[in-house]
Every structure is written in structure tokens, then in C-alpha cells.
Point group: C2
Chain length 300, copies 2
DNA sequence: CATGCGCCTGTAGCAATACTGCATGCTTCG
DNA sequence: CGAAGCATGCAGTATTGCTACAGGCGCATG
């Protein structure tokens, strides 16, 4: 049986990129890390890392093993978390994961309702990006997490149990002086020649524009790469271009921006609540789950 | 981070039922096992096992932790198996899991075809019960496994990827001198007053009879509990009663037994091939998968 | 082309840890 | 009431894993 400590060492090296970096991250000396690595490679019967002058990169075997190591480590973290739950350390408290747009639109409603119903329960909320949320779920750092997905990239994690809360349509943002500002609805096909403002850094919402533009028969011209939806709205307000956004992102609406429906000419995203199955679910957690579902029912 | 060795100790105690039994299973002295257990309980901050005079039983926390331990151990076994695959130790060989009925009906056809196509590849087959098959899959002891399920109890394992091969209808077995022996098809409702022969030991196929009898509006009378389908056929042949069986179980047909279709008045089972997703799949394995699917297509 | 820097690895010694062997206490069964 | 089966405590030993330090290798820089 492979030694888990050594696997953790491997994981650290893969993630940090070098033995010395891994050593400082783990609080060991490089020598110790190196020794453990060598033993692991001997046990594995094959090299796990390619050495070069500055640091190391994993071989195929190293990558596979690191992936297994990650799962093992998360499983152990989940075990510890479950133990803490059972010991009652966390009785009367829940932790929830969320992401920015929903965190500033739908979630406050649910939180208010939850506090009304269960004022004694301490609710802790972590906001983060999708991968972070999934990791926290798997490690038991949060009991529940809100997630989202689109048709073409469903959350497909076999270690999560999903409940759909509501669908969040994609809407169009235009400046107050834009030619379409007075319209209630618009079709994507009407927007072929407009300059677009999109989220920077390969944010998944970029694909929403690409796909719906393709479906409408045009290639969008990009005028600006925005870092968040507030910035996107600011640019829209001064007429630099128009933008797509999930409706939940338009709660803090800029005064000079108009929100226009796209009907079904742009895809909607699902907002979900996820939890790790097979856990002992505390009453506080089940209650929160219910409040989320219930609030969602009266939300759209 | 919890220590995996200790978790294995806990697992052994839970499965063996006592410290001494676990110790012999692990090749340690009872003292060592006891010490590790105590440390684990101290780390966990709560008792994990209830002591009584003869052995121990797990507490809730102990059960939960043992479940996590099982997953960790399997993950580690899978990691080792993947390493062996990558190292090429198993290149040109595949292992397959199967279960008795299909192992003596459909599988030989697929194996013959596979040997024709790839005579150089060494094929190893393990036959076992469902839980054993799933365990072997998860640990990487077999690369592929045949499995089966019915509508009401689908194989629902998030760590397995399933491909349906064919459906295996439930047929009726009667003795050669039975009043219905000449019939080609029969409905369950016609069999209300017959004595039945079923599989012993809560075999899942018992539920097939119960459910289809209920659907047909009667409660079956049981005349015999058989240990396997050969025995069941023997009893049917002497007229002790009639029996249900998946059609694949009727390949070695007893001379004095007649097989009669039940149409859709009895449920059929799915026969599947499963593999652990996210693995590096060897060419030999993919080829076997293809041959299974292909053979199945021309099977029913 | 030489020097220096960053990194990995090897050796020796020390500290922590896990196991054995044996003894003890508890409970149940004959 | 004694014997058997079980868990556990204690002391000693063997293994393991870490540190400290020294070397060696590859690349960059002057």
C-alpha cells in the first residue's frame, strides 16, 4: 500500500514545482522531501518527476499519482470534517459556499429568511470561484454550496449531489442613450453590428456570447474586456458597447444602464445547490437547504 | 490529517469484529492494534467502537470513519493499479469481472471473438457476486466488469461508468410434463396457483418473482429454495414447482425442462459493462470493451 | 570561460514512532 | 468458581523520518 505522507509530498512538489518550494510549504527541509520522493519513486517502480535545472515537472505517472493523492487527501479531510460534525463541535452552525453574482442577488433573500426562522444558528458563508467551491465541498469545509452551469458544460462531479434552484436568464445591458434603450425585448440577431463588452480572462460567461452570436449568425466584435460586472456596466453606461450578463448580476443596476430581455435567444444558466452525498447532514444544514429551495421557488 | 494506517486498523476491527481478529488479519499482535485504535480515538476526540465482552461494534462515528477509510484504501489500491498499468507491467493483458449466469452464456461468445481478434493479449477473468465485482473495479483489480441490474435497483455508483450491453428477459421454467410445457408464451397471471422454486439466501432475483406476482395480483407459494439455477432446474424437471430465471441462466438447459417466454409480464434485467472513469485505459482494455458491445449487439 | 547561484541528493546522527512480549483486568460460559 | 476469550498497560527494541551539512549538477552572468 502506498504511503499517504509520501503522496502528499509528491502532491506538494507537483503543485509548487520544485522540491525546495514543496519543502518550505510543508515545513520540512529539502533533503527530507527529496528522500521521501525517491522512496516513492522506488515504490512506484518508475520516475514520477522529470528533473531539470530549475525545478521539476511531473511525468505521466506522476500526474496520475498526484490526482489520486488529491482525492485521498480530500477524502481524509472530509472524514475529519464529518468527525467534527458528529462530535457536535459544529452543532448549530452551517457553512455555505457561494459565488459573487448570486451572493449579491438571490442569496441575501435566502439568508434573511433563514435568520428569521433560525436566529440561533450561526451561518458562515464563503464566496469563491467554482473550482474553489467544489474543493471546499469535497473537503467538508462547507456543507452546502451554490453552483451554476450552462447547458453545454454541466456540473459533472460524481461526488456531488445537486438540486436545481432556479434558472438565471441572460439579459442584455445597453446604455441609457442607446438606440435600443427603450425596447423591452430584443433578439440576438438584431445585435450583429454592436461592439461588445465581455468578461476578461476566459471567464465562462464569454462562451455565452460566442454561442448565442453563432446561433444568431454573426461574430461579435469585442470592444472591452471587463474584470467584473460592475466594470462592464460602467463601460456600457458610457456607450462603449453593449454586454450580456446573467440577470442576477444586474441587481446593483447602474443608473445609466438599461436591462433588456433576450427571450430565449440567449441561453440561461442553472443555479444549483450542491452537497457531498453520504454525509450525516445536520439539522441546521437541512434547514438551510430547504430555505434555499423555498426562496428560489418564489424568486424567478 | 488522520493517519491512514490507523484508519486501516479501524477498518479491520470493524470488519473482523474484534481487536484480536483484526490483529491476526493484519499480521500484528492485539496489543499493537489496540494501541493504534486508542490513538485514533484520541485524535478523533470521541469513541469509535463500543466495547463489550465479546468483541466490539462501531459507534456512529466509527461507522462513518470506517466508510471513509474504505474509500481511501480503495483509492490507494486504484493508484497502485494505475501505476502498474503505466509501468507497462500489464501491457497486453486485461482483466475482466463477470458473474455466473452471463459467464456461462454471453461471455464465452465475446471471449472467443476477442481471442480470434487479439490472440496475443492475455485475458484474465474473475467471476464473483455484485459487491465483489464493484470492489474489484474500484481497486483496479479488474479493468472492466460485467454487471446487471433491474429497473427498481439501478447500479448507482458514482465511481463507475456504465455501458448497457443487452437486456436479459425473465423466462419461465417448467417441467417437461407440466400442463404448460407445450406453450410458447404465458402470462404471469396464469401462474397464480403454481408452487414456486426460488433462489435461496435473499438473492436479488427473488424480488423479480415478488414484484411480477404482485403485478399479476397474487402471492406466490414457495416450494423450494435453490442454491443456483442448475439446482432450480433440477427441481423444476421433477415437477416440484416452476421457476423464474433470466434467460442467460437457461443455456445449460436440463433435458426435462421447458423454457417459456413471459412476454413483458415479468421484468427484464440490464446487463452492463462498467469501468472506473478517469483511468488511463489500455488499448487491450478498449478493444475488449468494443468486442463486448459488438458481441452484445448481435446477441439478443 | 570562469564564477556563482539555485536546486537536488547523499550521509550520519538523532528523535519520534510503532511493534513485540508479557502481564493484568474484565466478562462470560461451563 | 475456574477457565477461556478479550482488551489494554508497560517496558524494550527496531524501524522510520527528520535535520544538519556537504557535495554535485546545470544554467546564467560578468
Amino acid at each position: 500500500m502506498l504511503d499517504v505522507k509520501r503522496l502528499q509530498v509528491l502532491l506538494a512538489i507537483v503543485e509548487e514545482g520544485s522540491v525546495t518550494a514543496a519543502a518550505t510549504a510543508l515545513g520540512y527541509t529539502p533533503s527530507a522531501v527529496s528522500q521521501q520522493l525517491l522512496r516513492l519513486e522506488r515504490e512506484a517502480g518508475q520516475p514520477l518527476l522529470d528533473r531539470h535545472a530549475r525545478g521539476m515537472t511531473p511525468t505521466d505517472a506522476g500526474l496520475v499519482l498526484a490526482r489520486h493523492a488529491r482525492k485521498v487527501v480530500r477524502q481524509l479531510a472530509a472524514a475529519e470534517s464529518d468527525l467534527a460534525d458528529i462530535a457536535g463541535v459544529r452543532r448549530g452552525s452551517v457553512t455555505l459556499g457561494t459565488f459573487p453574482t448570486v451572493g449579491s442577488s438571490f442569496l441575501p433573500l435566502a439568508v434573511r429568511r433563514y435568520r428569521e426562522l433560525y436566529p440561533a444558528i450561526q451561518l458562515t458563508i464563503h464566496s469563491g470561484r467554482e473550482d474553489h467551491l467544489v474543493r471546499m465541498l469535497e473537503e467538508g469545509a462547507v456543507a452546502l454550496s451554490l453552483l451554476w452551469d450552462y447547458d453545454w458544460q454541466r456540473v459533472d462531479n460524481r461526488d456531488l449531489e445537486l438540486t436545481e434552484l432556479f434558472t438565471d436568464p441572460t439579459v442584455l445591458l445597453v446604455g441609457a442613450t442607446h438606440r435600443l434603450a427603450r425596447r423591452r425585448t430584443v433578439r440576438m440577431a438584431d445585435l450583429a453590428d454592436e461592439p461588445w463588452i465581455i468578461r476578461a480572462g476566459g471567464h465562462p460567461v464569454v462562451e455565452v456570447l460566442e454561442r448565442s452570436a453563432v446561433a444568431a449568425g454573426f461574430t461579435p466584435g469585442i470592444a472591452f474586456h471587463a474584470n467584473d460586472y460592475q466594470e462592464a456596466q460602467a463601460m456600457v453606461s458610457v456607450g462603449l458597447g453593449i454586454a450580456l450578463a446573467p440577470r442576477t448580476a444586474t441587481v446593483n443596476q447602474h443608473p445609466d444602464v438599461r436591462v433588456i430581455s433576450l427571450g430565449d435567444t440567449a441561453p440561461a444558466r442553472r443555479v444549483l445547490v450542491a452537497h457531498r452525498p453520504g454525509r450525516v447532514r445536520a439539522a441546521a444544514e437541512l434547514a438551510l437547504h430547504d430555505v434555499l429551495v423555498e426562496t428560489a421557488a418564489s424568486y424567478s
